[in-house]
């Protein structure tokens, strides 16, 4: 039934958008494609699960804890890995390779600590309610996922658009050198950006873990590919693009799984994406922008 599928698509798409937002923010501000973002997403998922099942934390607190932990990880990646590479003027591929390494380390660590098998949130920790609206089964969990994703995105949009912090980040995105000479602590804001982006990735991990109720050490990998596809579709570094691109991928995936082929859902979704890029090679909102040093 179409309405049911649209709800599923909205749920999935809003989490894709949330994940891609952090990804694209780091690219926009730091000019780095942080390929550990998928693993940080996975860490967020495990962190919430651990807090819920070992400390009996309520779900909202576990989400907060997961955001803090993944945000801190993102900050550490920036301070320990990306910063020294920046200081040495490393070429663009170097941070990509370094962050692939971080992703592999985190995935192995998760496997070592939690095993390779699929873990699930205990049934009683999930929001239970389910009601029927116009013939559509709506789980309270789905409402919570969509609400959390959209609230966080709205907060980020507002901060970027209306605050001095946001103006400063947009200034860095255009020219870090000019921004620093106007009194902006560029390194400091690189750290802030890395924290926020990773925290968004971490909460996306919790939401996907809850939606499918399945957590594995490998769950970050397909998400990383999808996130990369979303930000390329939306236009690299473009915030609106990540939102629209994320929702698009969610809808394309769910609808093609439901109506075309359950096995080929991803293939159809990525095929569509490829077709769009043929027409608009720099993405939906992408412009060919020269970045000044």
């Amino acid at each position: 039934m179409l309405e049911q599928q649209l709800l599923n698509a909205l749920t999935l798409g809003s989490v894709y958008a949330l994940f891609a937002l952090g990804f694209t923010l780091v690219f926009g501000v730091l000019a780095v494609i942080n390929l550990s973002h998928g693993a940080i997403f996975m860490v967020g998922s495990y962190a919430a699960l651990w807090l819920v099942s070992h400390l009996d934390a309520p779900l909202w607190l576990a989400m907060l804890g997961a955001m803090l932990l993944s945000g801190t990880l993102g900050l550490l990646v920036d301070v320990l890995i990306l910063k020294p590479l920046r200081a040495r003027n490393a070429p663009h591929l170097t941070p990509m390779i370094a962050t692939i390494g971080v992703g592999i380390m985190l995935t192995s660590a998760a496997q070592g600590m939690f095993g390779a098998e699929v873990l699930r949130f205990p049934e009683e920790t999930l929001p239970a309610g389910e009601f029927i609206v116009g013939g559509v089964h709506v789980r309270a969990l789905e409402i919570a996922i969509v609400a959390i994703a959209f609230i966080l995105m709205a907060v980020l949009f507002t901060a970027l658009k209306r605050t001095q912090l946001g103006r400063a980040l947009r200034a860095i995105a255009e020219s870090p050198k000019a921004a620093s000479l106007l009194g902006i602590n560029v390194e400091g804001l690189f750290h802030v950006t890395s924290f926020v982006a990773a925290a968004l990735g971490g909460i996306a991990g919790v939401l996907i873990g809850l939606d499918f109720n399945a957590i594995t050490p490998q769950m970050g990998q397909p998400m990383l590919h999808k996130g990369l596809a979303v930000i390329i579709l939306g236009g690299m570094g473009d915030i609106r693009g990540a939102l629209i691109g994320g929702l698009f991928l969610g809808f394309a995936e769910v609808i093609s799984k439901a109506y075309l082929s359950s096995q080929m859902g991803d293939a159809v979704a990525f095929g569509l994406l490829f077709l769009i890029l043929l027409v608009r090679p720099s993405g939906l909102f992408g412009r060919v922008l020269e970045r000044k040093a």
Binding site: T163, Q164, A171, K177, A178, L182, G183, K292
Partner: protein, 260 residues
Amino acid sequence: MNTPQTLLSIRNVGKHFGGLHVLQDVSFEVPAGGIYGLIGPNGAGKTTVFNLVTGLLAPSSGTIEFQGESLVGLPPHQITHRGIARTFQNIRIFKEMSLLENVMIGMHEHLKYGAGGIFFNSSACRAAEKRARERAFELLSWLGLEHKAAMLADNLSYGDQRKLEFARALATEPKLLLLDEPVAGMNPSEKTLLMEEIINIRNRGYGVFMIEHDMRFVMGLCDRIAVLNFGRIIAEGSPDEVRNNQEVIEAYLGREEEAA
């Protein structure tokens, strides 16, 4: 050891990139108030001097002091906080922002982030934003751009982009404004307008330190001039002293005449 009138003091500064000596034993002092010019043929090392003063590069030797405090080793944003602002030879405005936002970026140190405040709608945050907006409008009006405040900076003419850069640099509340070839690429009427703006800025009490290779422009504008050639200071003094200096005539003016 500094006389109270000295704002910026550069002593025995050298800079080399590998074996290439760009600056050697450069010394001069920029006094508070007035317009100071650094001139020299292309490739003499003028922009390198600005990059050393603003912290984009570190000197290989020598000292750079601003109001008696060393600037060597400080990151660029902290040097800006101490009261030095600059514009670029190639204009670097934020093209995807409005003029008002461009100027507000320059107020970063004074405005701070207020990222939390906007959501709790704190009165302190709103008041700070309001003050910043008013100040930004004021700075834009100094340069005759206030009626374009909401425009995207990308849509400005070349001359107006330069003026926006001036307004944005002044937003950092500098004591000394560094202008890197402010009239490069401008047509003669734009040059005249910008010259007036630079005099206005001087008259408002800001120190101006400018790089230029348009001799006529500099001679009419500057109170004192240092001449850089092949990385060394070959003359320093009033425009008349510099104009009549034999070494300058040979190194610089002579070449202009040949070219003419």
